[in-house]
Amino acid sequence: MAIRLKILLASLGVLAATVALAACGGGGSSSGASGSTANGPDAASAPETEDWPLFGRDRDNTRFATQDEIDTSNVGELGEAWSTALGPDQYLMESFPLVLNGTVYVTTSTDEVMSIDGKTGHINWTYTPEVDFSQSTGVGGYGITVNRGIAAEDGKLFLLTFDNKLQAISQKTGERLWSSEVEDPATGAYESMAPTAYDGKVYVGVSGSEDGVRGKLAAYDAKTGKEIWTFYTVPKAGTKWVPKGGGGGTIYMPPTIDTETNTVYVGTGNPAPVLVGAKRPGKNLYTDSILALDADTGKLKWYHQEQAHDLWDYDAESPVVLFDAEIDGEEVRGVAEAGKNGLLFLLNAETGEDLFPPVGFVKRDHKPPTTKPTLECPGAVGGSQYSPLAYSPETQAVYVSGIELCMYLKVTYESHNGEKAFAGDRVVPKDTEKSGTFTAVGVDTGKVLWKHDMPTPMDGGATASAGGLVFTGDQQGVLYAFDAASGDDLWQADLKLAFGTAPVIYSIGGTEYVLATVGGAALTASEELGEIGARVIAFKLGGKQLPPGPALK
């Protein structure tokens, strides 16, 4: 006991010494190897296509659809075109679908891939991989499995399964072409992200920071599944700042690729042990950071750490968006990312330096956790989790999904898992407010253009369109269409199942569809925020009208 007390006091001493760093909130940035010059608008940033071929529709990951049939004047006529359930006992839907040649490709939380007719909702085929789910005994024993989607290139679909298999399957038939292990599941690593495919390579990270997994981003040959390069986001356990059993910096969402500069941008997760900083001195690079890497070699170009020496589980989890803006009369290529620390970062894509001071979008009031519970805002699942931003080149705004959810955090030092645990407790107070925000921020000003206080945490992201609209869904199952410029609440539909994703938009034969994948996020289940399930629902003008949700305040 006395020994434990000594360790505790010693640890607290180091903890106190590191508080100054951590309390600063923001991190820092550094340019590494030479980067390319900033470029102008990328043709791939808003391609005229009827499909939704990439995770964020275009290479810049903007989630901006060029369709404008559905607009601010007629969105009130939007109604259900078809609705398809994804199977018995299927729960949670964090999958962001692709649409290729009018066919929807969506994954389930248990790693099936389904090909669905975009016009009728008919399931063409289902690919059901054999997956070892036993590793979900990790992650603090939560047992949550989710799959956030696939990538596509040259007739192949690329899937990451929970047990760390990268698989290529035929886009046409659903037949498996090859399978490659990207990490040993015994390390505690698991997969939840959609990969990114580009120019013959598939870019893949691993999840599991909470269990001390060592983060990495790796490129694999799209034809064979063989590894081309690997960039580790943190040092090996037991070296430099990483204690034995520690690690972190894992990746939860697909990287974004600037095809002009051949740069891969990706966000990283928390350091581990999560809440105890004493055993991992310093900034803990490159955790909670935006990284810019050379797409061919994996060499680091620059990093921007959003949260140095993180003590709150403030991942830089959501995917990076690229944009072009005119700032002070100069064309600037920029990077946007919203962190779990409740700050939106707008960075120079060439250097990683701040274009503007970070913009807060939820309540922020936190201090280093101690052995006594302290209320921290955002909590460990607040701010913006994996939710992708949308960016509209027409409004020059990004749209941010925010989670208002504070938590009591408490440091503990004993664990039957050794150091492979949180080394702390995270408790959501029963009377705490569980709500959200939806915020438009100008990328050329760094200012909030408009903001809605939402009735539930917003976990799923946003989608914008050339019709002047921005769509998002909440935990009650309400899909909203806002005027992208003014924020006016123009249309709602109550889908009865919670959102864990943002819609996609596509057209078939001149008819524009808005497709929602609903069923809830992991947060929906853990905080009992809404109904969970797994369903895909398409909307079009003149479809069956659904009742609206409750009026926004």
Partner: protein, 161 residues
């Protein structure tokens, strides 16, 4: 009244009391066996590990097989609790459900079944008989799958290997 009449009663009373006591003990013993279930599934060595699922009745969705993982869940220190992850495969789906609130009563093993995660809604229940350590025969019933009967044979005593 014969003096001896009282005598038998002096003998009979203890016998009667003894009979009542035995009966009470027997009843109590029976009640114990069939009475209030105990928490957990017993000794860790008897059930922790990974199981093959051999389906004997496929239920409404046509379950073909699967895997059960029983482990000690530890969300944070001091919160250890046995739990299970059950993956049931149909022709087109991996259905993964979660076993919580494990209880036992004699050889009987029960749990509630959660959907989505251990923190998700209760969607059914699990009932089985432990034939011997590492062998369960029983059924899982959920909204989506109906009632699936199966035998569960442990192939590893380590949940993650």
């Amino acid at each position: 009244m014969r003096p001896g009449i009282a005598k038998p009663s002096a003998i009979v009373l203890p016998v009667l009391l003894a009979t009542v006591l035995v009966a009470a003990l027997a009843t109590a013993s029976l009640a114990l066996a069939g009475g209030k279930p105990k928490e957990g599934w017993g000794a860790d060595s008897s059930f922790i590990g990974r199981y093959h699922v051999k389906v004997t009745q496929p239920g409404d969705a046509g379950v073909r097989g699967g895997e059960l993982t029983m482990f000690i869940q530890e969300e944070f220190p001091g919160s250890e609790e046995p739990a299970g992850i059950l993956n049931l495969r149909t022709k087109t789906n991996n259905d993964v459900v979660y076993l919580k609130e494990l209880k036992r009563q004699g050889a009987r093993r029960t749990a509630i079944v959660k959907g989505g995660s251990f923190l998700g809604p209760t969607i059914g229940n699990f009932k089985a008989t432990m034939k011997k350590p590492g062998v369960l025969v029983g059924r899982v019933a959920t909204k989506g799958l109906g009632t699936v009967r199966a035998t569960f044979h442990r192939f590893s005593t380590k949940p993650t290997q």
